[in-house]
């Protein structure tokens, strides 16, 4: 499409630039009736855009809001909204850059786990809207001959996500979304959080770091044997059967395929 002529009556460049930049004045051609001013009038649109996007982030990241407090959260979100406004008309896709923004946000340095909590919250909403699929039936796994299990590869369920953290991310997430009673945590308790949607409700599950690495490796298409090897690097006491059972019952996978040739692990 050719560029719009300069004289187009709706200058969307100017109108939209001012919406996210409080230092700009109202665009040309915008006016009140009978020569009245348009500063407060144009500010209604500014306010609608900024506040509605901050509200959208508050809806997506309620645990982050609870951890920081309302005023801190809204100030942090305002900076993010102005720096990174949404590019999709689907607001439930917004905020994917917010965890990295939080990680680099100097005033939030005293809450080093905050970005990982935000990653878990963003993954929660993605899981909520993910495509429908039946979780893997454990019988499908049982049907694979024992000598070919190690080479089996799993397809992650569309709602699957795992967030690994050096902090107790599962408990901080759960306690701040009213899923778990408040209790002290040790900040060096590393945890992973598994996010799945069995029976069509988003579910969060605690995983130890080795099980988190295992789940992540399986979701990326590594074989069961390769994923177990990585998990054993993280923790020599890694319990393969326990981790696999937990992942299957949480609906982490949608399908499994045996290797074409047995015993490759």
């Amino acid at each position: 499409m050719p560029p719009l002529p300069d004289h187009h009556p709706l200058d969307t460049d100017a109108f939209s630039a001012g919406l996210l930049d409080p230092d700009r004045t109202a665009p040309a051609h915008v006016t009140g009736p009978n020569g009245k001013g348009a500063v407060k009038r144009y500010n209604v649109y500014r306010n609608n855009v900024t506040v509605s996007l901050i509200d959208a982030l508050a809806d997506i990241f309620p645990a982050v809001l609870k951890l920081t407090g309302e005023n801190f959260f809204r100030a942090m979100a305002r900076e993010h909204v102005r720096a990174t406004p949404p590019t999709s008309p689907l607001l439930f896709e917004y905020g994917k850059d917010f965890p990295d923004f939080i990680a680099a946000f100097e005033p939030a340095r005293s809450l080093p786990y905050l970005a990982d909590v935000a990653r878990a919250e963003r993954a929660w909403l993605t899981a909520y809207h993910a495509a429908d699929a039946a979780p893997l039936d454990p019988a499908d796994l049982a049907a694979i001959p024992a000598d070919r299990i190690a080479g089996a590869r799993f397809a992650a369920h569309p709602a699957f996500a795992v967030i690994a953290s050096p902090f107790p991310v599962f408990r901080i997430f759960s306690m701040n979304r009213d899923l778990m009673d408040l209790a002290p945590v040790k900040m060096d308790d590393a945890e992973a959080i598994l996010i799945t949607r069995p029976a069509d409700q988003v579910t969060v599950t605690h995983l130890a770091p080795a099980a988190g690495r295992f789940a992540d490796a399986m979701s990326q298409g590594l074989t069961l044997g390769e994923a177990a090897g990585l998990a054993l690097e993280t923790d020599p006491a890694f319990d393969l059967n326990g981790a696999l059972t937990a992942l299957l019952s949480a609906g982490a996978f949608a399908a499994v395929a045996a290797s074409d040739h047995g015993g490759d692990q």
Partner: protein, 322 residues
């Protein structure tokens, strides 16, 4: 010399806009009777009210949803919509199509909207005379446009495209606005009437928006409604507004959808329905959500007015003037 009448009155930009018969969507839209939205009150559906609504059958004639909330691939939103759709006719209301913008519509977004039409068979579909995207930015508000021949051409192209892709007649909603443009060359009502004539779309008359804009810009809401092409209105919206001040300290109303419908808006609604007869009427309440009985009572107020002006209602005989 032919005497055949053109399907639609000749407009200024007839070369760029082939005329379209208003009934061109009659064939494409094989609307089953049970999917039709009745001329009764409905409400904007909020999942918070799901259980209360299902336990209160007959309370409202239809439900309206914002299309974008159901554009995810799967999950609980679709289970919820499938469930309410079993009990209620549906109006599918888009809020992000950016029909009022200068750029072509987002084809991906159109495809998502059309897929929802196919899946949920809404009895009505609608969008706004507004824009909300710019380049790759989504601004999440219904932004205003000047009313000129050029913007009219864009809007008509966009309405045509949306009707083409969905295979349905759409309703276009009049906006609530806070600013005017000094380069507008026609009134909002003329602008809307011309779009109807060129595209065959219908209109969604938001009477709260009329009251808000009229107050903000210092004109009479009754004059606006007198000029509005009421014969093409397929749905009415009612909602609450809040009060602020403009630069001169005068009243500036905000279309906030967080309160009951204001008394003057009910009065205007009564006057419109007296002229048109019953029309599907939606009560919108989008933030600071009330308990279900409060919203239900708003819908019942609309139903009372609709019943009063129903063709079968007994007419009150007025004494002849002396």
């Amino acid at each position: 010399m032919t005497t055949a009448r053109p399907l639609v009155r000749q407009g200024a930009a007839s070369k760029t806009h082939p005329h379209v018969s208003p009934d061109r969507f009659a064939a494409a839209t094989t609307l089953k009777a049970e999917n039709a939205v009745p001329s009764a009150a409905g409400v904007g559906f909020k999942p918070d009210h799901l259980t209360a609504i299902l336990d209160d059958p007959g309370s409202v004639g239809f439900l309206e949803v914002h299309a974008e909330n159901y554009m995810g691939d799967g999950g609980p939103p679709h289970r919820t919509l499938e469930r309410v759709r079993r009990d209620f006719p549906l109006s599918l209301h888009g809020v992000c199509m950016s029909i009022g913008g200068p750029k072509p519509l987002d084809e991906d977004h159109l495809a998502r909207f059309a897929a929802l039409c196919d899946r949920y068979e809404p009895g009505l579909i609608s969008e706004h005379l507004a824009w909300s995207t710019h380049e790759d930015l989504f601004l999440n508000d219904l932004l205003p446009l000047p009313y000129t021949e050029e913007t009219l051409d864009h809007v008509c192209d966009h309405v045509d495209r949306m009707q083409e892709v969905t295979g349905r007649r759409m309703l276009l909603e009049n906006p609530a606005t806070y600013v005017l443009f000094d380069n507008s060359t026609m009134s909002e009502t003329d602008f809307l009437a011309t779009i109807v004539g060129r595209t065959g779309c219908g209109l969604l008359l938001d009477i709260n928006n009329v009251f808000v804009s009229a107050t903000n810009h210092g004109y009479s809401a009754r004059d606006y409604l007198a000029a509005f092409p009421l014969a093409h209105v397929g749905e009415v919206h009612l909602a609450g507004h809040t009060e602020q001040e403009d630069d001169e300290g005068a009243l500036l109303l905000i279309d906030s959808h967080n309160r009951p419908v204001a008394d003057p808006v009910w009065t205007l609604y009564d006057e419109v329905i007296a002229k048109t007869g019953p029309i599907p009427t939606l009560v919108e309440w989008d933030s600071d959500l009330p308990e279900w009985p409060v919203l239900r009572a708003e819908a019942e107020s609309a139903n009372a007015i609709l019943r009063r002006h129903a063709p079968s209602a007994p007419k009150v005989r007025h004494a002849a003037p002396a």
